[in-house]
């Protein structure tokens, strides 16, 4: 008999509404889904379908208006900002479409930041930063600032930063959206590497190369769950 797989993410009736002036816009409507540990999930859907909002809710960057969300065994609905910060730092690695590196920190400082925030020992941080920069092929750019890197390089630094604390779940929001084919290929290789290392990866993307890696594809349409092909 097959072992029941452990859940990494589960949502129940997840709804998110934004207030724009006097208008209320519901971006996610009643989303119920389950994502297993060590799975590779792709979230797809047209622009404005709620992909980024769903990732933000899973990453604890945003809170749902209604419904329940549990990530890595933690129910996130009623948690305060300090808890969510701690949670993001320890359990989640986030890769943004716009890279979002801290422009005032160098490459190695950007990668070290989440570890510094968890007060890891300096020796561990130095070693981990070196390892991660070698993994993403940027060991020779350690002391550069983000403004001195190309888009692809910045995205690879963002991946290295997301992996710094060895998080249980990695969220990537259209990681190849701003990259050319060559750089996109390097990101796909990084994602493959994460998959082979048993990480739970959730990627919002339109990229076919990434979709082929998926164990599970969740499609959103106008904020609703259109399909969930496990």
């Amino acid at each position: 008999m097959a072992q029941p797989r452990e859940l990494m993410v589960s949502t129940e009736g997840l709804t998110k509404t934004f207030k724009v002036g006097q208008r209320k816009i519901t971006v996610l409507k009643d989303i119920t889904l389950k994502i297993n540990k060590a799975s590779f999930t792709v979230i797809c859907g047209p622009s404005g379908s709620g992909k980024t909002t769903l990732l933000n809710l899973i990453g604890g960057i945003d809170k749902p208006t209604k419904g329940k969300i549990t990530v890595a065994g933690q129910e996130l609905n009623d948690k305060d900002e300090d808890f969510l910060s701690e949670f993001r730092c320890s359990h989640v690695g986030f890769v943004f479409q716009a890279y979002n590196l801290v422009s005032t920190l160098t490459v190695e400082e950007n990668v070290a930041f989440p570890m510094e925030w968890l007060r890891k020992p300096p020796e561990h941080i130095h070693q981990r930063v070196s390892e991660l920069l070698i993994t993403v092929g940027l060991e020779n750019r350690a002391t550069h600032f983000s403004a001195q890197l190309s888009g692809g390089e910045q995205q690879r630094v963002a991946f290295a930063r997301a992996l710094a604390n060895d998080p249980e779940v990695i969220l990537a929001d259209e990681p190849t959206g701003n990259l050319d084919a060559k750089n996109a290929q390097k990101i796909v290789q990084t994602l493959q590497f994460l998959k082979s290392n048993g990480k739970t990866v959730i990627v919002s993307t339109h990229d076919q190369q990434i979709r082929v890696l998926a164990d599970n594809i969740i499609c959103l349409d106008e904020g609703k769950l259109a399909s969930n092909n496990e």
Partner: protein, 624 residues
């Protein structure tokens, strides 16, 4: 509305927060400058109307103080205005490039931004002038209980200067952006300004927070340097106002206390005592002495036997016999040598004035003076020391009368039949500084009046004050003389001067408020500019209080560097330029330090307000 005017106005309205911040900062800057200048001008007018009290020397010191404060207030306002506009327009460099990149010609984009700049500066300066007038009106009614229309060239000067400054400083980043190609302007290297490689390895979480704070300051180095310059000027002004105000207050109070001294009594005929009291209290009250009073009357003479008797009393430390007269005095010009021995030039003229002339024995003198030059030497019967009001009226250049050079210390004074060389100028409350001191023998020889008409007696510490006064009164009564406790007049004069300084010290409070507004406005712009960065840091796991930590570090650096510069220069200016012979005690230093420390702490906490507000927002709110 035409399209060219419509875009800038809509753009400003769309960016409500930034536009609001800049307009508020500029309005406050113009309003506070106008208000402070008008307020100090009202204080100055108040002082001028008090010339029947105060000595002319002290009025000049207060006037100088207010003038200097006024100039600094104007500079602060001008710098703040230029910084605000510069920051606002610098933040638009990227937008300028974006509009250019989508095909809009350089001249049209330049026109849009120029219109925005003009709109913001014009609206802010007009609002500033209106609010400045309103604040002045409210304070004038509350503090001075009446409203006189202020000097009208102040608002005109402020309006044009600030408008031109704001426009020129705002124009700089627009011109810079116009010269950049769209590609250059959009490059993160140009935008962030960070191109050097970092040399140090990350050490700790605290070190990273410091690095983000320091590098953000460095990235905005033009703005940082300007705000440090602005706050340095604020701190110079604050030091001059607080330290200068307190020390100048103490110094001037000491200057009017010292000539009489504490624990001194005056002994003389009742009429003479009353007249002397009126001469002494003229400094603080609009009283008039009896102009027909005959000082030289023989009946006011003090018997020598009383002087001898008083000198034997244990309760008496010193008996200072004086001859007090009211005389017409005349300037005695002189010739001074130039740089080469062949050169000579005329000093002074033949001006005349009225003065209380006091003959004293320098060896027995109970008072001491704040003096320019020196006091009378023993037996120097042809020397004189004049009060500051005599010096300010009879010994100043008067070009209409052809007196191009005048200096009391190079000239002389004629009293009755005697000529005296002036050796010092003193601050003295008697007759509001229209007073001349000469050696008593010299005065007696010049006037032919060979008696004393007033005794100043200094009490010793050995007996109780009341017992001593009682003893002296008993002795004086035997000769039909009255005793007056001079402490009463000294206290009245000191209280008056102290209240004058307290009114002036309202300025530092207003300046502090203005400085705090400057800093908060700067921190608002600074936090606003770093919001995206803060959101990223928080998204990767930092707690909300990191925003406050980073802002606190930045605010500390800005405040400490500017207060360091400001306090150093302020102290130099206070001591070297404004107060020649400062009087300060450990308590004075404590009070000044307390004021400045309180100002620094208040400004520091106020400056954190924008960061606290930002830390309360959610990550997505900030990112949007």
């Amino acid at each position: 509305m035409s399209n060219s005017a419509g875009f800038p106005v809509n753009d400003l309205l769309r960016r409500k927060t930034q536009t609001g911040l800049t307009v508020t900062t500029l309005t406050l800057s113009v309003a506070s400058t106008l208000f402070l200048l008008q307020f100090s001008s009202r204080l100055g007018l108040g002082l001028t109307s008090q010339t029947s009290t105060l000595t002319l020397g002290l009025t000049a010191v207060l006037g100088q103080f207010l003038l200097f404060t006024g100039v600094l207030i104007f500079i602060i306002g001008a710098v703040l205005t230029s910084i605000s506009v510069f920051l606002m327009m610098s933040q638009r460099t990227r937008d300028f490039a974006l509009i250019k990149a989508v095909g809009c010609p350089n001249s049209l984009v330049g026109g849009y931004f120029m219109t925005e700049l003009l709109t913001v500066t014009l609206v802010s300066t007009i609002l500033g002038i209106v609010f400045g007038f309103l604040a002045d009106f409210v304070v004038a009614v509350l503090v001075f209980s009446s409203y006189i229309l202020p000097i009208l060239w102040y608002p005109i000067l402020i309006f044009f200067t600030f408008f031109v400054l704001a426009f020129l400083f705002g124009l700089q980043p627009i011109l810079k952006a116009a010269q950049l190609s769209a590609l250059e302007a959009l490059s993160p290297v140009t935008y962030f300004g960070l191109t050097e490689e970092a040399k140090h390895k990350p050490l700790s979480r605290r070190a990273l927070t410091w690095r983000i704070a320091l590098r953000s300051l460095y990235r905005r180095q033009t703005a940082t340097v300007r705000i440090i310059f602005l706050l340095s000027t604020v701190f110079i002004l604050l030091t001059v106002s607080v330290a200068g105000g307190i020390i100048a207050g103490d110094t001037s109070i000491s200057s009017i206390e010292k000539p009489i001294g504490r624990d001194t009594l005056a002994i003389g005929q009742v009429a003479m005592i009353n007249q002397f009291k009126l001469e002494l209290e003229k400094f603080s009250q609009k009283t008039h002495e009896n102009s027909d009073f005959n000082y030289s009357n023989q009946q006011y003479a003090i018997p020598y036997t009383l002087i001898e008797q008083l000198q034997t009393l244990n309760s008496v430390a010193l008996v200072d016999p004086r001859l007090v007269l009211h005389e017409e005095v005349a300037e005695q010009p002189s010739i001074a040598l130039g740089s080469s021995t062949a050169d000579t030039y005329d000093v002074g003229g033949y001006r005349k004035g009225q003065s209380i002339v006091i003959g004293i024995d320098p060896a027995l003198c109970s008072g001491s003076w704040t003096i320019k030059g020196r006091f009378l030497e023993n037996n120097a019967i042809t020397e004189a020391v004049v009060g500051d009001s005599i010096a300010e009226t009879m010994y100043v250049p008067n070009f209409k009368e052809g007196i191009n050079i005048s200096d009391p210390l190079l000239e002389g004074i004629s009293i009755a039949n005697g000529d005296f060389k002036i050796v010092g100028v003193v601050v003295d409350p008697i007759n509001n500084g229209f007073v001349t001191y000469v050696q008593i023998d010299g005065l007696q020889r010049a006037t032919g009046i060979y008696h004393n008409n007033l005794l100043i007696v200094k009490l010793s510490n050995s007996t109780g004050r009341d017992i001593a006064i009682n003893e002296i009164e008993t002795a004086a009564r035997e000769y039909g003389l009255a005793v007056y406790d001079l402490n009463l007049s000294v206290e009245k004069n000191a209280a008056f001067l102290s209240s004058t300084w307290q009114t002036i010290m309202f300025l530092p409070s207003a300046i502090l408020a203005s400085a705090a507004i400057c800093l908060v406005a700067y921190m608002m712009l600074s936090v606003n500019e770093q919001l995206q960065e803060f959101a990223i840091i928080r998204a990767i796991g930092a707690k909300p209080n990191i925003i406050v930590s980073i802002s606190a570090i930045q605010s500390c650096i800005v405040l400490l560097s500017s207060s360091g510069i400001g306090l150093s220069f302020g102290t130099i200016i206070t001591f070297i330029i404004l107060i020649a012979n400062p009087v300060f005690t450990p308590l004075t230093i404590l009070v000044i330090s307390g004021w400045i420390l309180a100002a620094l702490i208040a400004m520091f906490f106020l400056s954190l307000y924008p960061a606290f507000r930002a830390s309360k927002k959610s990550i997505l709110e900030i990112m949007i």
